[in-house]
């Protein structure tokens, strides 16, 4: 046991770990938002609700069908992703030629519907979700105790984030996507089904949120308001990072999670507001965000 700046190392590294965990979720969610925004020009306000929906899907799968964590990690994102694609076909596709604000308003309405429904059936109290047996316990690293499940969440979200970055920036499919973002009409002229690509992109972005939701279920309790609390912070993360770059979204997500964790150690009262304060400062200094292009 030793101390850094008068803080016991256990506490410092413990908060850093929590910061990294939060950062993983910020990164996954802001990545999903960025992917969706790039393609649909819509800020998906329902992102938090879809994250919550996936956590509930995992919970329901376990309670009613006895389907455990690992299958849920695949099944829940698929279910919620399909839900997202249905939403896109039913509602969002009519908004592409309108002011972008309408997309925000409509997805805000969707978020209210999903959250209100969940609250009607499950109340506001959190429901516990067990950490899978294979990830019980943890490692003693000497300077801190690292629970296996938390290590897994950080590793998994890093892999998913960089996998997504790779697909979008380095593959042919990603090239189509980026081209369709720049000029959909021209890409269609090359014989690519852009509307279907948009639907799938939305489904993919939603599935990213859903994956985060399932991973979050054992850490935070499963509750109807888990999404709306998170999504506003993620909006601030997105504003800080700027919407222009995928890598920027990932880096800002993790970075801000760590800063938030450190604030919890040194100045606990400010831990819930530090990200918003950083956002205000960034906006004054660099209005288009750290990695953003000016809009």
């Amino acid at each position: 046991m030793f101390e850094i700046f008068g803080i016991p190392s256990q506490a410092l590294f413990g908060q850093l770990l929590i910061g990294l965990i939060n950062g993983s979720f910020y990164a996954l969610l802001s990545l999903g938002l960025a992917v969706i925004f790039g393609m649909l020009n819509i800020i998906n306000f329902a992102h938090g609700a879809q994250y919550m929906l996936a956590a509930f899907t995992a919970y329901i799968l376990l309670q009613t069908l006895g389907i455990g964590y690992w299958p849920s990690l695949i099944i829940a994102p698929i279910i919620v992703g399909i839900f997202g694609m249905i939403v896109e076909r039913l509602f969002l596709q009519w908004l592409y030629k309108l002011d972008h604000l309408y997309g925000l308003l409509l997805t805000f309405g969707l978020a209210l519907i999903v959250e209100g429904t969940a609250r009607n059936f499950y109340g506001s109290a959190g429901l516990p979700y067990r950490v899978p047996d294979s990830l019980q316990g943890g490692q003693n690293l000497g300077f801190m105790f690292l629970p296996n499940y938390r290590a897994w969440v950080i590793a998994a979200s890093l892999v998913v984030c960089f996998g997504t970055w790779f697909i979008i920036e380095r593959t042919r499919l990603g090239a189509y996507l980026r081209a369709a973002t720049e000029n959909p009409t021209l890409v269609r002229a090359f014989g690519i089904n852009v509307p279907r690509m948009i639907t799938l992109t939305y489904g993919f972005g939603v599935a990213l949120a859903a994956l985060a939701g399932v991973m979050a279920a054992p850490i935070y309790n499963v509750s109807p308001q888990m999404g709306s609390e998170l999504i506003i912070v993620v909006f601030a993360v997105v504003v800080i990072g700027g919407m222009g770059s995928i890598l920027g979204a990932i880096l800002t997500g993790f970075g801000l999670g760590i800063i938030e964790g450190l604030t919890k150690v040194f100045f606990p009262e400010a831990s819930s507001t530090v990200i918003f304060v950083i956002m205000a400062i960034v906006l004054l200094v660099r209005p288009s965000g750290l990695f953003g292009r000016s809009v």
Binding site: W94, L106, L110, L112, I113, N120, T185, F276, L283
Partner: protein
């Protein structure tokens, strides 16, 4: 090849027809007279407390509409001004023992100050960024309200005395309070109407339609937008301060994000960018919240459905559709 810029984009507030004739059109005058008559007659038919609440929220929605309807800026954080003004007004009346008009002024002034700070931070961004930033700032101030001592945390500030107006008129009588609220509401409404139809308002509309052009004509658009933002925040604060005195409570509900969502919904339902729309919207949404109070959380679901339906089916809102149908200005 179609240039993306050529695709018709419907803006949030519909482009108004070229202004013809006098500033105050006949239809607006008629609607205004009808509204004043209702304000005078209504307390004899329904609960004054409910009507006062409607007027507070109507003023809040009108202030919000000033931004979205005439500058094209969607603020998703207007609860910040409403809620904090409500706290300060309640605090001034209860702890400092100020008379109600001074308490309301305190809250309103605080909202103006907050509006200036928030405006300086946000005003350079537009569209969805502006919406996200205002939402995030409001959430930050929500956390401050949660932690600050004087706000009473989860309990809020309860039992705010209505006091005596100018130290003379006892506002614990419902009709006295009603008259005060009606005067504040009408004054706020007329101020907004005046602003919208002033040369300043015309510049705002020009910025909404084409900001680059407005800049090229020599207007310092940032200053105009900032002034409009502060004005909107101030009037939202006036509504919040008054609400604290009327309902004798200021609580976390007033600063939290669902409150910002409520005011967006009211304005959307009534009609973005119409003068009377926010008032009708506030009336409709508050009536719905009262009638549906027994079904609990389903109210939220229904509000969500209304959001979706409004965006997909009637973006002009109730008043906007009526005005469009009869080809009049409302």
């Amino acid at each position: 090849m179609q240039n993306p810029a050529d695709i018709p984009v419907e803006t949030v507030a519909e482009t108004p027809r070229p202004a013809a004739g006098p500033i105050r059109s006949q239809s607006e005058t008629v609607a205004f007279v009808v509204m004043m008559t209702i304000i005078v007659v209504a307390p004899f038919f329904t609960y004054p407390l409910f009507l006062m609440q409607v007027m507070c929220f109507a003023l809040f929605a009108c202030a919000f509409n000033l931004l979205i309807g005439y500058v094209g800026l969607l603020s998703f954080g207007h609860a910040l001004f409403f809620g904090w003004a409500s706290y300060l007004s309640a605090h001034a009346a209860k702890e400092w023992g100020l008379t109600p008009e001074l308490a309301i002024l305190t809250g309103t002034a605080a909202a103006a100050g907050l509006g200036l700070i928030a405006g300086i931070i946000t005003i350079r961004r537009q569209g969805i960024y502006f919406a996200m930033i205002t939402l995030a700032l409001a959430q930050m101030m929500y956390f401050f309200a949660l932690q600050a001592k004087f706000t009473g945390g989860e309990d809020g500030i309860q039992g705010v005395p209505r006091g005596k107006l100018f130290g003379l008129f006892d506002l614990s009588h419902p009709m006295a309070m009603y008259i005060v609220v009606a005067v504040i509401f009408t004054g706020g409404f007329m101020l907004i109407h005046r602003v919208v139809n002033s040369p300043f308002g015309e510049v705002l509309k020009a910025i909404r339609e084409n900001e680059a052009r407005a800049i090229s004509l020599g207007y310092k658009t940032i200053r105009y937008k900032l002034l409009a933002f502060v004005l909107s925040a101030t009037l939202a604060g006036l509504a919040g301060s008054t609400k604290a005195i009327v309902l004798q409570i200021a609580s976390l509900t007033d600063v939290n994000w669902p409150m910002s969502g409520d005011v967006v919904l009211m304005t959307l339902v009534g009609g973005l960018g119409t003068i009377f729309g926010p008032i009708i919207g506030a009336l409709v949404i508050l009536t719905m919240q009262y009638k549906l109070a027994p079904v609990g959380e389903w109210v939220v679901v229904i509000q969500g459905v209304i959001f979706v339906a409004c965006v997909l089916l009637f973006r002009r809102g109730i008043v906007g559709e009526v005005a469009h149908f009869f080809r009049i200005r409302l």
